[in-house]
Amino acid sequence: MRDPVIETTELRKTYVMGDSEIHALDGVSIQIGRGELLAITGQSGSGKSTLMNILGCLDRPDGGVYRLEGEDVSTLNDNRLAEIRSRKIGFVFQSFNLLPRVNALEQVELPLLYGGGRREQPQEAGPAAGRERGPAGGQEQRVATARSLLLQRGGSRWRDRAREALIAVGLEDRMNHKPTELSGGQQQRVAIARALVTDPAIILADEPTGNLDSRTSEELMALLLTLNSDRGITVVFITHEEEIARRTNRILRMRDGRIAGEERGEMGGANKAAPAPPAADAAPTPLGAQSRGAAAGALRQAGASPVPPAQPPRDEAGP
C-alpha cells in the first residue's frame, strides 16, 4: 500500500481479569492508506474497541509496533501520546462526548488550545480563510490577524479555524449554542467539527450513529462520507452495524482479538477513484479549499442522499 497513514504489526494487548488472561488483541497487523474509508467490525468482545483505543493513541499495545504517519507511537509516554492525539487524531464517539456548558465554537476550539493548533500555523493564517469571505470578511480578517499578532498567539486564528470547521459540518447558525441547546444530530456534528478542526491524519468514529434516529444517522453518515471524499480525510468506523460497514470501501472483521476477514464495501469501486490517486488529495488539505463538485458526484454515484455538507440540516432546526 502506498503512503499508509496507519501501519501496525502484530499488535497485542492482554488484560488480566482475576486468574484468567484475556487477549483483547492477539496479533493484529493492518495497514490503512491515506484518504481511505474503512470500517472495523466485530461483535462486542472481539477487540475492536481495544484496537480503536490503541489506534487513537489513548492506549499503548503490550506488544507489536504501531506506526502513525511513519512514526512509531507504540512506546511513547502519556504526554507524547496526548500531543499526537491533539495533532493527528480526531474522535467521534457514540455518546458525542461534548463538554457540558461550553458552546459549540469553544468545543471545536478545544483541540487547538491543547496543542493541535500548533501544526502548520504560518501558512494557515490569512489567505485561505480570507478568500472565502467578502470584502467585509477581509476587513474582519485583517483585524483578527492584527490582534493575533499583538497577542503573539494563535487565539483568533484558532477561532477562525473552529468557525470554518463548524461551517463545514453545517452548523454556521449554531456556533454559540451549548450542548443542551442542540439536538443529538447537531451535537454529533459539533463532535465531527471538533475532530476535523486540527486537520488530523485520521478520524476514528466509534459507533457514530449509535445514539441517533435513522434519518439523522443517514445525514451524519453522508457528512462523514463527504468529508472523506471531499477533503481526503482518512475515516475509520468502528461499528457492529453491518449497514454502516457496508458503506465504506474496506471492511475489517474482527473476532477474538484477530482480523478474521477483509472485504470490500459498497463504496469500494467508487472510492478507489476518488481520494487515492491525485497527489494533491493525498496530502492533508487545509479546510475550506476544496472542490465540492467531485464529492457530490461521488456521493450520487454511491447512492447516498446528496446532502451538501455546508448546508444546515432542515429537520434539526429546533433544539
Binding site: N53, G56, L58, D59, D78, N79, A82, E83, R85, S86, R87, F91, F93, N97, L98, L99, P100, R101, V102, L110, P111, L113, Y114, G115, G116, R194, T198
Partner: protein, 418 residues
C-alpha cells in the same frame, strides 16, 4: 496558565454556585478570623508601646546589679544619692537635661484624719517628677531647698489624695507615715495605667534626704546614701544622644564604683527604646499566637476546598476524559483544577480580609470599661499580605492532590465513566 484556563475555571465554579459559595465561606471565615484577631494583637501592641513612649523615650533608667547571665563574682556597689549628684555634673555637656534619684521605696501605712491607706513612700530628688513625666495637679512640687533642708513635706499621688482627703483640700494637711509627720504641699495629676514599679497614682513623694534621715538610716560600704534607681533625662531620643549619654554615665559610675577595666559594670542602664523593643517583641509573639489560632479555621477551610475539589474531580471524570482524548496533557488538567482551587481560595482570602477588617472595626467601637476606652485594632499591610499569601498557599496545597488525581486519570476509563 492563560486567560482561557482562567475562564474555564470560572465557568466551572459558576456552574456550581451554591457549592462554590459554601467552599468560599470556609476560606472567608478562616481569613477573616486571622485578620480580625491579628488586628487586635497589633492594636494592643500599638497601645502598649504608645504608653511606653508617653513616659518619655529620652529617659535612661539606671539600676544597680549585673545583667542576667553575668558570671562576675565581684561585689555590687549600690547606686547612691552621691552617684546621682555626680551625674548631675554631666548636664553641662548639653545632652543631659536632668537627673533624678529615687530612694528605696517603702510600703507604708499612711494615716490622716482618721483615714489610712497603704502607699509606697519614695524619697526623691527635686527633678524626679519632671524627669518621670509626673505633672502637678495643684500645690507645689518639691524644691531643692526642701531637699537641702530635709523638709518634712510630701507630694501625694492622685489616688492617695482622694483616699485620704475625699472631700477636703489636702494642701497643708498633715499626714503620718511611720513616725514621720509630713505636711502635704502638692498633689499629682492622675496618670492612669502603670508605668513600672506600680501606679504613679499610689505614691507619696518626699525629699530623698528626709527619707534617709528619718525612715532608713542605712548607708552603703562607702558611707553613702543608697537609692533604688537613677533616671537621667536626655535632650532627645536620637540614637546618638542615647549612646553618648549612656557612655558618659557608664564612665562616671565605673570610676565612682572603682571598677577595674577588666571587670563588668555593676549597674544596668536601660533605655526605653530597649524596653519598647523588648515589649513589642513579646507582643509580636502574642499577635502571631492569635494568628496561629485563627489559622486553624483557615486550615479547616482548606480541607473544605480539598473535599469539594475531590468531589468535583469525580463528577467531572468524563469531562477530563474528553479533554484528554482531544489532546490535553497531564499538566493541562492539573493546572485547570489547580487554578480552580486557587481562584476559590484567593477570592475567599480577599473577601475574608474585607470581613476581618469590618469585624476589627466593629470591635474597636465596643467600649471596654465605663470610661469609654476601647480596644484598639489595627489592620496593617503585613496582615493583608499574610492573609493573601496564606490563602493562596492553602489553595495550592489543598488543590494539588485533587488536581493531580484528575491529571492522572486514564483517558479510556474516564471516557467510559457514567
Amino acid at each position: 496558565m492563560n486567560v482561557a484556563t482562567l475562564k474555564v475555571a470560572l465557568s466551572a465554579l459558576a456552574a456550581n454556585k451554591l457549592r462554590t459559595i459554601l467552599t468560599l465561606l470556609g476560606i472567608v471565615i478562616g481569613v477573616a478570623s486571622v485578620t480580625a484577631l491579628m488586628s487586635i494583637g497589633r492594636g494592643v501592641e500599638k497601645q502598649i508601646t504608645g504608653e511606653l513612649q508617653a513616659t518619655g523615650t529620652n529617659v535612661l533608667f539606671i539600676f544597680s546589679g549585673r545583667p542576667s547571665g553575668s558570671s562576675s563574682e565581684a561585689r555590687v556597689e549600690e547606686l547612691t544619692y552621691e552617684d546621682a549628684q555626680a551625674l548631675e555634673e554631666l548636664t553641662w555637656d548639653g545632652t543631659l537635661v536632668g537627673v533624678a534619684a529615687a530612694g528605696s521605696e517603702l510600703r507604708l501605712n499612711v494615716v490622716a484624719q482618721g483615714r489610712d491607706t497603704s502607699v509606697s513612700v519614695s524619697g526623691v530628688t527635686a527633678s524626679y517628677p519632671d524627669v518621670n513625666n509626673l505633672t502637678l495637679a495643684y500645690g507645689d512640687t518639691l524644691t531643692q531647698s526642701d531637699i537641702d533642708s530635709r523638709a518634712t513635706v510630701a507630694v501625694l499621688g492622685a489616688n492617695v489624695a482622694a483616699d485620704l482627703f475625699p472631700d477636703a483640700d489636702p494642701i497643708d494637711q498633715t499626714i503620718r507615715a511611720a513616725n514621720l509627720r509630713l505636711r502635704v504641699i502638692g498633689v499629682l495629676e492622675e496618670q492612669g495605667g502603670g508605668g513600672f514599679g506600680g501606679s504613679p497614682d499610689d505614691i507619696v513623694l518626699i525629699p530623698i534626704t528626709t527619707a534617709h534621715a528619718r525612715l532608713s538610716r542605712w548607708l552603703t560600704a562607702r558611707g553613702e546614701q543608697p537609692v533604688s534607681s537613677i533616671s537621667v533625662e536626655l535632650l532627645d531620643a536620637e540614637e546618638e544622644t542615647i549612646n553618648t549619654g549612656s557612655a558618659a554615665i557608664r564612665e562616671i559610675l565605673r570610676e565612682r564604683h572603682e571598677i577595674p577595666d577588666e571587670e563588668e559594670d555593676d549597674f544596668i542602664i536601660i533605655s526605653p527604646i530597649d524596653l519598647i523593643a523588648a515589649v513589642s517583641g513579646a507582643l509580636a509573639v502574642f499577635t502571631a499566637f492569635l494568628g496561629a489560632i485563627a489559622g486553624i479555621s483557615l486550615l479547616v477551610g482548606g480541607i473544605g476546598i480539598m473535599n469539594i475539589m475531590l468531589v468535583s474531580v469525580t463528577e467531572r471524570t468524563r469531562e477530563i476524559g474528553i479533554r484528554k482524548a482531544v489532546g490535553a496533557k497531564r499538566r493541562d488538567i492539573l493546572i485547570q483544577f489547580l487554578v480552580e482551587s486557587v481562584v476559590v481560595s484567593l477570592l475567599g482570602g480577599l473577601l475574608g480580609i474585607l470581613l476581618g477588617a469590618l469585624i476589627s472595626f466593629g470591635i474597636a467601637q465596643i467600649p471596654l470599661g465605663g470610661d469609654g476606652e476601647t480596644l484598639q485594632t489595627a489592620i496593617t499591610l503585613d496582615i493583608i499580605l499574610l492573609a493573601v499569601s496564606v490563602s493562596a498557599t492553602v489553595g495550592i496545597f489543598f488543590g494539588i492532590y485533587p488536581a493531580n488525581r484528575a491529571a492522572r486519570l486514564d483517558p479510556i476509563q474516564a471516557l467510559r465513566y457514567e
